[in-house]
């Protein structure tokens, strides 16, 4: 039943097909091996090979292949319901893939809990940030990893370390004793990221870290992503915003309805193409045809849209060279 379903997923193909095929993959596709040299030639920290996930009869994720190496940022892009959350849950150890292989540093793994993934250095910063709003910042920072002197918490040390770690990330906090719920969204995000970094994360999974943030705060978070990469961490950056993903990403995995619609090295794709794929060029084209058919001023808008699409060289289909692995 899988194959026909795949075709059903692209209903726009019929009308848009000629254009799609005609669209040249304008930037020359750089050889995959050349792109991978960015990984430092080492074994990727995290790699999924043909991973799928079913919940009963629902296929949440199908045949996903991706990887992230040390000092790299792999961006996972997709609209709501594309399977991003499922992908995170698999990598974070909350779920196991129904099929396919999940490798950490070259060895296949099967995690029973997020704790096991954490022990392998895979830390997840969820959208809700896994913070407890009513608890002080420093208690949140060390929650689950409390520093103790015998049975007692070493409160002075934890407060000092928390403040120092946050300062190293450039976060100037009024008081680490204040409830974390009183911080701004960007500050909370950064506390969560620096917490993961402090506890020796090798791979950082960031679940839509910029989704609820303003322009300036998003910029701050992107800066920390770059900083984490510079420190040699592998970052899996989940987002639906190609403008956030493109500047910081080394690889881009695009998801739609639980399937990969493209997996690119940075050199293989331009920002506009990425944006086009995310926006769903095929859907836009269909929209432009519909508008033109409507006539009147709507038709003008439709023609304008069509011009934009061809100008950007975007389409709903990934190029034939899209699947890098």
């Amino acid at each position: 039943m899988n194959t026909p379903e795949y075709e059903k997923n692209n209903p726009a193909d019929g009308t848009a097909a000629p254009d799609v095929l005609a669209t040249p993959n304008a930037p020359p596709a750089v050889n995959v091996s050349a792109g991978r040299s960015a990984a430092g030639g080492g074994v990727p920290l995290v790699r999924l090979i043909d991973a799928s996930k079913r919940y009963g009869s629902i296929i949440a994720l199908q045949n996903i292949t991706m990887e992230v190496g040390a000092g790299e940022v792999t961006c996972v892009l997709g609209d709501n319901g594309a399977g991003k959350s499922t992908l995170i849950k698999i990598i974070a150890g909350l779920h196991q893939p129904s099929n396919g292989i999940y490798e950490v540093e070259g060895t296949p793994v099967s995690f029973d809990s997020p704790r096991e993934a954490l022990e392998r250095g895979i830390a997840t910063v969820y959208q809700d940030l896994a913070v407890v709003p009513l608890m002080p910042v420093w208690r949140n920072f060390f929650l689950g990893n409390e520093v103790r002197k015998r049975l007692r918490l070493d409160i002075a040390f934890m407060k000092k370390t928390c403040k120092a770690e946050l300062a190293a990330m450039g976060i100037d906090l009024r008081d680490v004793d204040q409830a974390i719920g009183t911080l701004s969204g960007g500050e909370r995000q950064c506390v969560a990221i620096s917490r993961a970094v402090h506890f020796g994360a090798k791979v950082l999974i960031l679940d839509e870290p910029t989704a609820a943030l303003g322009v300036k705060q998003s910029g701050v978070v992107l800066k920390y992503i770059v900083q984490a990469r510079e420190r040699g961490l592998g970052v899996i950056f989940i987002t639906h915003n190609p403008h956030h993903a493109y500047p910081v990403g080394d690889r881009f995995l695009l998801l739609n309805r639980g399937r990969s619609i493209g997996y690119f090295e940075k050199a293989q794709i331009t920002r506009d193409e990425l944006t086009g794929l995310m926006a769903g060029g095929a859907e836009l084209e269909q929209l432009s045809h519909e508008l033109e058919d409507a006539g009147g001023s709507l038709a003008d808008i439709g023609r304008e849209l069509e011009e934009d699409i061809s100008e950007l060289g975007i389409s709903g289909q990934p190029g034939t060279d899209a699947n890098a692995t």
Binding site: A130, V132, P133, I155, D175, Q227
Partner: protein, 352 residues
């Protein structure tokens, strides 16, 4: 990246000007037990004026005693509430434990201590089952423990009736080991002519231990986190299920202790006792600043909440009023405390 080279420049250590605005009073009012302390002072002054006997040390010692019987249970109930759960069976569980100890050691003519240990096992088991059902099914603890409340109440009365043909357990004061058990659970001593029961000392000790656990240990951190936001706690590796079951078992443990105290004080136990006390424990915790939604509160607050109950309970008697007014006062206290706490928290948060 150019900026990374400059990043390690640490901000100079200084007193942050942004936190100096918070006055000591605002800091005190932001504490969970602030409302309870204010309420306790008002009620003390009130009964000090209207009830003459209330002013004597001897009467205050009996206030403290009544307080301790509530406070022993209010402490673990407060921890459980901070952990995000309720236990409506806490009141009758005390009676169940006492009945179990007395009936077991009386019917099998064992040493009283054997009954005590069997009751301990039963109480921990009840706590475990409450917690286990809540954790495994995800059904709100309000409903689960409402069920166990009725079950225990039924068993208490029906089993006692079946075994003894009476509504109370037999007098066990003739049993071996009774006196030593009484020494442990229900002793009293005299200071300056004032009789003080050891349950008061136990209560204060347990409050100190609970406070220490909450604020100074990892377990305490975890209790706040499972009540504050369980998914977050789980995500950072806190064993949420085990924490909750453990908290229910702590309630069971203290129900056993309170039950043993009552049993060895009166030698016998009424099978219908304890109904309604679960609300007293919960209200003491709420008056003491525990949030109904979990994640916030203190053991000291619950202790002061229990003290308010003790003062009202005895104050009404010393004032010579009809004791039935107690129920009315309980309602007034609960409403007043909730309003005061909400008001204070809003003010404190606005000032912060």
């Amino acid at each position: 990246m150019a900026q990374t080279a400059e990043a390690p420049v640490a901000p100079p250590p200084r007193l942050d000007e942004r936190i100096s605005r918070k006055s000591p009073l605002a800091r005190f009012l932001a504490r969970p037990e602030a409302g309870a302390i204010a309420g306790a002072i008002i009620i003390y002054i009130f009964f000090f004026i209207v009830a003459t006997p209330f002013r004597y040390a001897a009467s205050f010692s009996s206030v403290l005693y009544v307080t301790s019987t509530y406070g022993l249970m209010a402490t673990p109930v407060a921890l459980l509430m901070i952990g995000g759960e309720f236990d409506l069976s806490a009141g009758v569980a005390v009676t169940s434990s006492a009945l179990c100890a007395s009936l077991f050691s009386y019917e099998f003519t064992t040493n009283a201590w054997v009954g005590v240990l069997v009751a301990l096992g039963l109480s921990l088991l009840i706590g475990f089952l409450n917690g286990w059902i809540v954790v495994k099914t995800g059904i709100p603890s309000f409903l689960v423990t409402l069920g166990t409340f009725f079950m225990l109440q039924g068993i208490n009365i029906a089993l006692t009736q079946t075994i003894t043909n009476q509504v109370a357990s037999p007098d066990i004061s003739t049993l071996q080991g009774f006196n030593s058990a009484r020494e442990v659970f229900s002793a009293s001593f005299t200071i300056d002519g004032v009789n003080i029961r050891t349950s008061v000392i136990y209560w204060i000790a347990f409050v100190i231990i609970a406070t220490w656990i909450l604020l100074r240990t990892r377990i305490g951190n975890w209790i706040f986190s499972v009540g504050g936001h369980a998914p977050s706690a789980r995500a950072v590796g806190v064993p949420v299920g085990r924490m909750k079951i453990g908290l229910f078992m702590a309630v069971g443990l203290m129900a056993w202790f309170t039950g043993m105290h009552t049993l060895f004080l009166f030698n016998t136990i009424q099978s219908s006792e304890g109904v309604g006390n679960e609300f007293v424990y919960i209200i003491a915790a709420v008056v003491g600043g525990c949030l109904l939604t979990g994640g916030y509160g203190s053991a000291v607050g619950a202790a002061i909440g229990a003290l308010i109950f003790g003062m009202v309970n005895q104050g009404i008697i010393y004032a010579g009023w009809n004791p039935d007014w107690f129920q009315f006062f309980v309602g007034v206290l609960l409403l007043g405390a909730i309003l005061l706490n909400t008001f204070i928290r809003r003010r404190a948060e606005a000032a912060a």
